[in-house]
Amino acid sequence: MLGLTIEQIAYLFRGAGWTIVLSLLGFVGGTLLGLPVALGRASKSRLLRFASGVLVQLVQGIPLPVIMFVVYFGISIAGFDVPALVAAGVAMTLYSGAYLGEIWKGCILAVPRTQWEAGECLALTKTQRFIFVILPQALRIAVPPTVGFLVQIVKNTSYSVVINFFDLTYSAKVINNATYKPFTVFTIAALIYFAICFPMSLLASRFDRRLHRS
């Protein structure tokens, strides 16, 4: 089929599987990191704003492949021999944590100030105001841009090829080296990426429409 053997195509799909695994790692890790970053960025405390701001600026100012290198070789120099999956997972966590933090900061700040005030006037503590009044409203606003960013995460996992992590891009490179059919191989890879990302884009725009209708 297309001049490739079934085994070679299966190999590409195995790579796609690891792309999905790395994407999930990046999203879960990014959520765990992004939530405190968002809180810090939206905080009244200057110190918290500064500390979280440093992380965001660093990550936004360094290309993702370079972050991958730094994490991968950095951990090796520290004397740990980690698989590329761990290094790529940590790098994706840093990357998506910083961006999700910025996105969610905007969502928290998008809830009108009067909602904080209303909670305050009902004698709710600061934590109660955040958990019961602000957070549920911010979450609703956050769904469309978050799902949209998932697409970025999936696509950007392809940078893990620089540390030889076995994902879809890496497996395509390997098959190409064996078959010398770059156009066929990378077109298949492109279609698989698209098949993963397109439904998510669709979902994001549907969430977006629903939010704006209500």
């Binding site: 009067t114 909602q115 009902l122 004698a123 709710l124 109660q128 019961f132 009044v133 549920p136």
Partner: protein, 246 residues
């Protein structure tokens, strides 16, 4: 500390600045339990600021302010404790859009007063009856008219069993018909003896419901008296204000 006759709110030469701008220039004013006090005046006269000082949304810069036995000028006051006693209703309702009417009302009693779910629902039913919206308990704010939302906001305040409720231009965003239904609720609370301070542009309402009308002008209490004073203003400023048809 507060005997029954003692005022719930006592302003004594209260001053408030926003930066270089002095908004309150020495306000003196008492509100006794069961009284309804209407604050009137042009925009910028300081009436809303005075109201917001009462529940600590704004802190005063000079003078003395005592609310429900707490001295707000004496530094450390537990504002959350104060707000259990002092409710406030805003012009823009500020209901929680993600919660039903019932949840809007029960949130604070449950989280702040630690009342059980069943009891909180009983309270919600009771205060909704008070504002005439029993059938809307399961509705969301966006499904209600402005007047209904404002009545829910009043019910939400009542559910905390406050000693005093503040109303900050609560009918200014409503058309005349909806204004009427909200004012009726406030009138009913007045008859039941609730202590209230209200900033309002509804002169007829201030005259008929308030025990005391306070006309504020340029950050000062310019003229004060029973509702009837609006018919016979002493100062030129009040005469002009009443005459301007507001």
């Amino acid at each position: 500390m507060t005997s029954p006759a003692a005022p719930l709110v006592r302003f004594k030469n209260v001053e408030k600045n926003f930066g270089a701008l002095q908004v309150l220039k020495g306000i003196t004013l008492d509100v006794a339990p069961g009284q309804v006090v209407a604050l009137i005046g042009r925009s910028g006269s300081g009436k809303s600021t005075a109201l917001r000082c009462v529940n600590g949304l704004e802190m005063i810069n000079g003078g003395e302010l005592e609310v429900c036995g707490r001295k707000l000028h004496a530094g450390k006051v537990d504002l959350l404790e104060l707000r259990k006693d002092v409710g406030i209703v805003f012009q823009s309702y500020n209901l929680f859009p993600h919660l039903t009417v019932e949840e809007n009302i029960t949130l604070a009693p449950r989280k702040v007063r630690r009342i059980g779910k069943a009891e909180a629902r009983d309270i919600a039913a009771e205060v909704l009856e008070e504002v005439g919206l029993s059938e809307k308990a399961q509705a969301y704010p966006e499904q209600l008219s402005g007047g209904q939302q404002q009545r829910v906001a009043i019910a939400r305040s009542l559910a905390m069993r406050p000693k005093l409720i503040l109303f900050d231009e609560v009918t200014s965003a409503l058309d005349p018909e909806l204004t009427g239904e909200v004012l009726k609720v406030i009138e009913r609370l007045a008859r039941e003896g609730m202590t209230m301070m209200l900033v309002t542009h509804e002169m007829a309402f201030a005259r008929s419901v308030a025990n005391t009308v306070v006309f504020m002008h340029q950050g000062r209490v310019w003229e004060t008296g029973p509702g009837a004073m609006l018919a016979n203003p002493v100062t030129d400023e009040l005469r002009q204000f009443v005459g301007s048809g507001l």
